[in-house]
């Protein structure tokens, strides 16, 4: 990796481990579910978005987003585990659930990178088959794939240091 790319990537790379740790803890505590990290990869165009994606914006000394993206079935299973209700369509409760998971994961990850002085935004949730999510220019987006008892999901994130 070139020096220039190293500088560009540093804000995003700093947050990889805090995000993974936060994700595993949140799934364990909120869902009683063990998640397992699989692939870590980079590249905005390669992110395998699923049907329900929650986006949390963060700003401070760096600016960017943390996204939790779940296939429909994983999101339905999460709702079922949380409140023992079966859902069969992507409704506001499903979107709210994915948004809340993303919110808690982002909050916990943020606590581990205090030097970035980040403030959390409110969750936005996108549901659909085809969409694009834009990360800040120079942010070098990355994603992590997970498997779990309720199904697969991904976390994608990208941060750029404020100039």
């Amino acid at each position: 990796m070139s020096t220039a790319l190293n500088t560009m990537a540093s804000a995003t790379v700093q947050i990889v481990n805090p995000i993974i740790t936060a994700t595993l803890q949140v799934f364990e505590t909120m869902l009683g579910c063990t998640a397992t990290r699989k692939e870590i990869a980079s590249g905005h165009d390669k992110i395998p978005w699923n049907q329900v994606t929650a986006v949390i914006g963060l700003s401070g000394l760096a600016t960017g987003s943390i996204c939790l993206s779940m296939p429909r079935r994983t999101a339905f299973s999460a709702v079922h585990r949380m409140i023992d209700e079966r859902v069969t369509e992507v409704n506001p409760l499903v979107c709210d659930t994915v948004g809340e998971f993303a919110n808690v994961i982002a909050g916990k990850a943020k606590d581990s990178i205090k030097d970035m002085q980040l403030e959390l935004g409110l969750p936005n949730v996108i549901a659909g088959e085809t969409y694009a999510i834009q990360f800040p220019t120079r942010s070098y987006p990355m994603y992590v794939t997970f498997t779990s008892e309720i199904g697969p999901f991904i976390i994608a994130f990208g941060f750029a240091l404020e100039q």
Binding site: Q25, V26, T29, M82, I83, A106, G107, K110, L122
Partner: protein
């Protein structure tokens, strides 16, 4: 005893209500933001407030200021995703009675409720 649960996440409110119901608290009033919570507080006799901090319309901090102007002693338990020491100290200095960090378990919710009400819970 009425407990006010304030969170912009419907899922979080449902989980909190179910947990409180299982502890024998049947009077659970829900609000999706600080403004709704303030209205609910003014029209009900509330024993304990569990409130999220980061919410639209009126956030937890502004809700706390408004509640404290009406009632300086009602237990106000902040629920936050951010457990940093600085955040918690600032909130307690602002008048929060206690705090609960997300993700929390039903047992942690019960412990906080027991701490702030006279009657035993669960």
């Amino acid at each position: 005893m009425a407990v006010l649960v304030v969170d912009d996440s419907q899922m979080t409110r449902i989980v909190a209500r179910k947990s409180l119901n299982s502890m024998g608290v049947t009077d659970v009033i829900e609000a999706a933001d600080g403004q709704q919570a303030l209205t609910a507080f003014q029209s009900n006799s509330i024993s304990v407030i569990f409130s999220d901090w980061n919410m639209p319309n009126m956030n937890g901090f502004d809700l706390l200021k408004n509640i404290r102007a009406i009632n300086p002693t009602v237990p106000f338990i902040m629920i936050t995703t951010e457990g940093s020491k600085e955040r918690v100290v600032a909130a307690i200095q602002s008048g929060v009675s206690d705090y609960l960090v997300k993700p929390y378990t039903p047992a942690q919710l019960r412990d906080k409720l027991s701490k702030w009400i006279a009657a035993p819970v669960g």
